[in-house]
């Protein structure tokens, strides 16, 4: 490993890295604008100049220069300081001094670095250049006068998001960052460009002029809009969630989050359930908690447990799910299901329902087979990870299902189960590649599992999995944040119990008399028949409209909660704000209700609920760990239909009660529809 001298101190650094990276290892800070760890090197901002010996007698851009043995790097000399001052002066020539009205103010790289390298006055008396603003869709606001042309956004669009729509046109003073043709960006990751922009050229449109970074309380939490469990930071002013930003987590989301994760949060302000309701004479009327509980207790009096059922929604925390499970057990009901979409996953061996290889496993896979999955809609950040693997050129990727644009080319093998059988039985050219692969990864999506023959598809996919001590190539892609937690806790029908379809059918035939919906809105509520419906949740969505009693709960930003992501990683979300009005945390509602029903649950504090989680399943004892699940038999061989595999997500921007209430998401949807119409 080369030994370099940085500012007079010797450091041993890995070969093949750049001087800027070496300085970072040595703890020497180098200012930069265009350089970003997760993007290709551009070397065009010139802010990272250092002196290098031996080398040319002028400062070098450290981000683009590799380290070599016995190199001497000087970062703090007068020459370096002067060079960086010069670069900063040039950058500021055409930069408007509008920090007081700029949304980036307070978290702006240019502002911060100008403090260290800027002059206190301008020597530039000519006119500054003016650049027309661009229309990049409902999420990204542009103020192109502020652009310093670092091209981070261009590189992000081309490399990570996989949509080559941004570019730098013209040259010299006329250079502009633009889509050239007016249109909104067609990526689900566009919000990340706002984070990447080192100045205020790209800012968040929904958050424009809303708040200043120093006014907000920052809470680290976990995302619930898809099964990935991205690490997020929730910024709150007063009791209002102002914005959501990604946190670094290389194991899960690197530093990206999807547009839904970032921008659906305005849905937390609308359509909220802030007090209990009880249906009287066909109309929902406001009630007190006491009245609501009394109505439930009266209805459930003397009802056989087998006639009671519960369905769990897609964004529930593990605490509320375990409380519901215990309550249903106490009521004597086996009819519990956490698989709203009718997925045929079972609660059996953990290896059968998690993303065993882990998100990091994608980086090692050398063959990926997507079965009934459109990761671009189901989990855009995961899709970016697969794309990164595709770009490495070391991975063959094929898909079985309806053709979709994943932002990287895949070999399309076929549409349905017959093709999957072909691959499993070794027919076709991809099957050859599959056999030759060291770390093949089969990703089974909801499009293959949420159907009648899901168990048979699951069993067939299982036969494709390579399972070794160091590799488990079976992966289930979940769209619901609560799903793995629910399966871990066993929220599936017990002995003789009914699943979601069974519950709905039973409700219509009057065999089910009472149904608890724990924030479950993605079921067909019109088929609940005459059943007595108790809705525990945070939004006035489909479930609440059908409910006979509404118990207002807390959304994910309003309660400390445990979530298990698709790879089986147990993560803690924190409370960033308080639920509105009379709403309470969901587990506490269930605990209070259990007392009124005479089946008091044995926990009074959150810690006791979490202790109960660990009793139900040991995995809850370790936070933020990922390992392949126990391997065993799962799925059930059987006949399969010819129906093509198709992702259940029709509309990425509206998949859950929060995003359906979000105006930003509605705008995104309208923008996409407009683009689709314009394209025709």
């Amino acid at each position: 490993m080369p030994i370099v001298k940085i500012d007079g101190k010797e450091h041993e650094v890995p070969a093949g890295i750049t001087i800027l990276q070496a300085c970072e290892i040595a703890g020497v800070e180098i200012p930069r604008f265009c350089y970003h760890e997760r993007l290709s090197i551009a070397g065009n901002c010139r802010m990272c100049l250092v002196e290098v010996k031996p080398g040319p007698p002028k400062p070098q851009a450290s981000c683009a220069m590799p380290v070599a043995d016995k190199q001497e790097i000087i970062t703090n000399s007068a020459v370096v300081k002067k060079a960086r001052n010069g670069v900063m002066e040039f950058l500021l020539i055409n930069h408007p001094l509008d920090c007081p009205i700029c949304d980036q103010g307070g978290e702006c790289d240019l502002q911060d670095q100008a403090m260290a390298y800027g002059y206190d006055r301008s020597r530039y008396a000519e006119n500054k250049r003016a650049v027309p603003d661009k229309e990049l869709g409902p999420l990204v606001k542009t103020s192109m006068n502020r652009c310093i042309q670092c091209t981070r956004c261009v590189r992000f669009a081309a490399e990570v998001a996989g949509v080559e729509e941004l570019g730098a046109t013209g040259r010299g003073e006329a250079m502009e960052i633009t889509t050239y043709v007016k249109h909104a960006l067609t990526t689900e990751l566009s919000g990340n460009m706002v984070d990447l922009c080192p100045v205020g050229a790209l800012t968040s449109k929904p958050y424009a002029y809303e708040a200043r970074p120093w006014e907000m309380r920052k809470t680290e939490s976990v995302d619930v809009f898809d099964g990935l469990g991205s690490a997020i930071r929730v910024d709150v002013r007063g009791n209002v969630v102002m914005r959501v930003l990604p946190r670094l987590n290389d194991d899960v989301n690197e530093e990206w989050i999807s547009d839904k994760t970032r921008h659906a949060i305005d849905g937390l302000r609308y359509q909220r359930l802030d007090r209990p309701y009880v249906r009287k004479a066909g109309k929902l009327v406001e009630a007190t908690w006491d009245e609501a509980f009394a109505a439930i207790a009266a209805k459930l009096q003397g009802v056989d447990g087998r006639k009671i059922a519960a369905i769990v929604g897609d964004q529930c925390d593990a605490e509320s799910m375990v409380a519901l499970k215990d309550l249903m057990a106490a009521l004597g009901s086996p009819n519990v299901d956490c698989r709203q979409d009718g997925s045929k996953l079972q609660s059996g061996p953990r290896g059968g329902y998690i993303f065993n290889a882990g998100i990091r496993g994608i980086d090692q896979a050398d063959a990926i087979l997507l079965v009934g999955s459109n990761p671009r809609l189901e989990s855009p950040v995961l899709n970016a990870r697969i794309r990164k693997r595709y770009l490495s050129g070391k991975c063959a990727i094929a898909s079985i299902g309806v053709p979709v644009d994943l932002t990287y080319p895949v070999e399309r093998l076929g549409a349905g189960a017959a093709t999957l059988r072909d691959v499993a039985e070794g027919r076709g050219s991809f099957a050859e590649k599959w056999k030759g692969a060291k770390n093949p990864l089969v990703i089974v999506g909801p499009g293959a599992l949420a159907r009648e023959d899901g168990a048979a598809v699951l069993a067939l996919a299982r036969s494709l999995a390579t399972v070794r001590d160091d590799w488990n190539g079976f992966a289930v892609l979940h769209t619901a944040a609560s799903r793995v937690g629910g399966l871990d806790l066993g929220l599936v029908p017990g002995e003789g119990g009914r699943d979601v379809a069974g519950i709905l059918a039973g409700a219509q035939r009057r065999e089910i008399e009472a149904v608890f919906l724990l924030a479950a809105d993605e079921i067909d509520t019109s088929s609940l028949g005459k059943a007595f419906v108790v809705y525990i949740g945070h939004h006035g969505d489909a479930g609440a409209h059908r409910a006979d009693v509404i118990l207002p709960g807390a959304a994910y930003t309003e309660k400390p909660g445990t979530y298990v992501n698709m790879e089986g990683r147990v993560q803690l979300g924190q409370r960033a704000a308080y639920p509105p009005g009379d709403a309470r945390e969901d587990w506490a509602i269930l605990r209070a209700l259990s007392e009124r029903l005479g089946k008091t649950l044995p926990y009074d504090t959150l810690d006791q609920v979490r202790a109960r989680l660990i009793v139900v399943n040991r995995v809850f004892a370790a936070l933020d760990r990922q390992s392949p699940g126990a391997w065993g038999e799962f799925g059930k061989a059987g006949t399969m239909s010819d129906e093509p595999f198709e992702t259940p997500i029709r509309n990425f921007y509206m998949t859950d009660p929060i995003s359906r209430a979000s105006r930003t998401m509605a705008e995104c949807m309208a923008s996409r529809q407009q683009a689709a119409v314009a394209a025709e």
């Binding site: 080559e164 729509e165 046109t169 013209g170 040259r171 006329a174 633009t178 043709v181």
Partner: protein
């Protein structure tokens, strides 16, 4: 240099563009200069062919080039807007690129420029002021489409332009009695055996 506005709006709308068979053959020739899979390297050459066929580069032509070379359209737009020799707005049949850099200026490019500007009507002739064309020894010089017309003055410029207007192609090179950059009126040295 004039500011190039991305996606100019004041240009006639060209709905579709496709290469004629002759030009398509040339396109394939340019692409064949590069290894398979590296067809995007041919972009400047193919754009030039598109511009020669159309006279200028409408967006439809750039999109067609992107399609042929399997590139994202924005990558083609970036290149077409970067180089000043690609014309994103219609121009006259003959583009008069008048050099006004010092040597040409000293030799009277102002008069040449004036003559060109008088002729410029936007359909037959368009004028563009350019930096040194590298033919200072024959200053002043005007590049008309692909050819250099050298040793010009106002009168000879008008003569050349009139010939173009009549549909003729005047002989490129010096417009005075001189072989390339040899002395006027024939050689003065090295005449004998």
């Amino acid at each position: 240099m004039a500011m190039i506005t991305a996606d100019p709006q004041d240009v006639p709308k060209v709905d579709s563009f496709s290469f004629t068979p002759e030009y398509m053959a040339k396109v394939n020739e340019v692409i064949a200069n590069y290894p398979p899979g590296r067809q995007a390297s041919a972009v400047i050459g193919v754009l030039d062919l598109a511009q020669r066929q159309q006279g200028w580069l409408p967006r439809a032509a750039m999109d067609e080039v992107a399609r042929i070379l399997q590139m994202a359209p924005i990558r083609v737009y970036e290149i077409a807007t970067f180089y000043t020799m690609f014309h994103l707005k219609p121009k006259g049949r003959y583009l008069l690129q008048v050099c006004t850099t010092t040597p040409c200026w000293l030799r009277g490019s102002e008069a040449v420029m004036k003559a060109c500007q008088e002729a410029a009507d936007g359909t037959t002739f368009s004028v563009q002021e350019v930096e040194c064309l590298g033919a200072c020894v024959n200053a002043p010089v005007v590049q008309i489409n692909d050819d250099f017309y050298e040793d010009l003055d106002a009168a000879s410029t008008r003569r050349v332009l009139d010939a173009f207007r009549r549909g003729e192609t005047p002989k490129p090179g010096p417009q005075v009695d001189r072989q390339t950059s040899a002395p006027e009126g024939g050689p003065t040295t090295l005449k004998g055996e």
